[in-house]
Symmetry: none
Subunit: 211 residues, 4 copies
DNA sequence: TATGAATGAGTATTCATTCAT
DNA sequence: TATGAATGAATACTCATTCAT
């Protein structure tokens, strides 16, 4: 007596989700060394079954990323339309990102992205996807910066450069959180401090001019 | 007639250097996946020969790190005794680090360090060495911050937190430089911008307060 | 439809036995030089599969020994409680051992034990096991000797020395059987002859005294 | 200024002897795992030089055996012509062999022979040589046995069988001495005990008959 | 004659992937 | 759909042997 197609469909989806969840855990624990066998064991399914759901290891990895990135960037659009000064909204953005760094899921997601960006063997499609998501975050940030510069709230200068530096800084914070979550939580990186990168300088810092 | 011991010595040193140089290139290109065979190929020697010079893959890696880290941290002490205000000297430090990011060698070194910190299988000794070097950089920075806070040049607040955030930021910049050196050089990250993280705020940024 | 767990269990056991049997043959033929590849070839399985059943070469070897040694020493206890004079029972023991030397399996087992005792790289556990089994054989022999000396059936003298010499002799016979089974079977070493080592001397051998 | 041919000749011979001596030591220490590099190191010569004196590892091994076997069997002939009863001379032979077992050199020699007999890769010539030397020992023994049987000093029975069993016993004693020289020396195997293998039995051992 | 650097073929071991059931 | 046994292609590492000096 065959299962109904609907039941099959449900089973497939559940299994697929389960494999991905296990992969997330295992990749976070073992890094790229993680084995298909590890994932299958974690998911409590057979080794072979994983291959009925994903063509190969790469595919699991790619799907995992596809799922994670949206989580990381969702709600971006809303920031542009929120009330408040550009600076305030930028603060929201930054502090949201920094705050998320304390959370396991977000860290695992970022860990994965790091691996993904390092791996030479990343399929072009995944790489593009990643890139596109990331770009949208940067564009949101850029737009807020431009607006903030107009109001004088944000320091003058090439917005792209500001975006680049800020994103580098956020990236570094994430790596920190990944490497030593304990310490990270102790120092609770304060979004206000990070925002200083955008802060119009007055006078006394002028003596930092390069010679 | 045998080679003179001196000639042999020269050969050994040259080959050793060559292997390390090749390893540097290959590790930077492929990360920890890099194969001894890759290194041997790059060095244009036979696979077996690599083992006459290094006990195993780990040994090559460890030696590489040992060689690279000093380069990255040398001159640290001098900064503490240089003339100039603490802020000026901090600027020197930061701008030195950021400036080095444009250079291939320094980037490869950092790539290696990243791999090293990720790798679970890092021998304790190497890990410690790394850690110690890094600590000395952070301590230098911390001392300059404390001095700068005394003179009012540097923003008030927990120096450890400031150090942590700055180092995260520098780390992020390095990763950026590694990922896309082209773009990195285009935006020439300006040490003055980064120094803003330490800049005493005035008044107008106060509206970034968290709700 | 998956195989039933029982079927899998059967397969695993069969393969395991097959690998061990092949290892037995190959080790006997080639000694410790034997290769995992040799074993896999003999067992007509892939090289990799051997590793699903045994962690490494050492493990195969150890298991083989564990299996073989009991065969060699079983029935020892019963000898102590059998009826008959101590000399008769000793004769049973010796002739049992010598008789077994004509059989392929027993010879291969002994070959293995020899290799095992030679090999420096023998895991302590296996070595101990071997040692313990062997000791129990020797102790049985010793006890029978002591009893036989009490009845005058066995020559006087240090029982330990008698045990040592007899076991050396049996070892030598085994090596002979291994080296040239053909010849061994031709000369059918007679347990009665070997028993002479225990025979109380009368008078005429006294002229063999060392000067 | 070239050396005289005679000087060269002397050097060659000295080196050759040195290599062989080192090989003896190293083989005894490490067994067949011993490396050409080990031998060269022990002989304090370069790795390459060994190959100017011996075609390959096998050749060193074979030569070593060629040298050692005569040492082990020399003086055999003289035994046949010595005064004394056959039994006495047999005793001399056996006790000479057993006595030698306490000496390092003889043990190393035997160790080597064991390896040689095990090794599949022994060249036919070496194997033959070994065999021939060994045969001459056995023949000497056989002759003495036959003589002794004529005088009634030695037990009746197939002389070849007696030889075989005795040689097996001696082989076993040697292995014992090799495995645990300490213990061996403690129990000082007594040639008189071993000679019992040849002792004409009286009456009481008759109950050892196989059923 | 002497040296030791260099080579290359061989061996153990791991893991993604396939396949019979 | 589900299982896990089986495969084979890496990859690290060793060592006898050759060769330039």
């Amino acid at each position: 007596m065959p299962r109904t197609p609907e039941a099959n469909q449900r089973i497939r989806e559940a299994q697929r989700a389960r494999i991905l969840e296990s992969a997330r855990i295992v990749f976070a624990r073992k890094g790229m060394e993680a084995t298909i066998a590890d994932i299958a064991t974690e998911a409590q399914i057979s080794l072979g079954l994983a291959y009925r759901y994903f063509a190969d290891k790469e595919a699991i990895f790619a799907e995992l990323i596809k799922q994670m990135v949206p989580e990381a960037s969702e709600g971006l659009q809303s920031l542009l339309e929120m009330p408040g000064t550009p600076g305030e909204r930028l603060y929201e953005l930054i502090s949201g990102i920094v705050g998320a760094r304390g959370k396991r899921q977000a860290l695992e997601a970022h860990q994965l992205l790091n691996h993904a960006l390092d791996a030479d063997a990343m399929p072009e499609k995944t790489r593009e996807l990643l890139s596109r998501r990331y770009q949208s975050l940067l564009e949101t940030m850029r737009q807020l910066i431009v607006e903030g510069q107009a109001t004088g709230e944000i320091v003058r200068g090439d917005p792209d450069q500001l975006v680049a530096i800020m994103s580098a800084c956020l990236d570094g914070l994430t790596r920190w959180a990944l490497r030593d979550p304990e310490q990270f939580r102790t120092y609770v990186p304060d979004a206000r401090i990070i925002m200083r990168l955008f802060q119009p300088s007055r006078t006394e810092m002028s003596n930092f001019e390069a010679p």
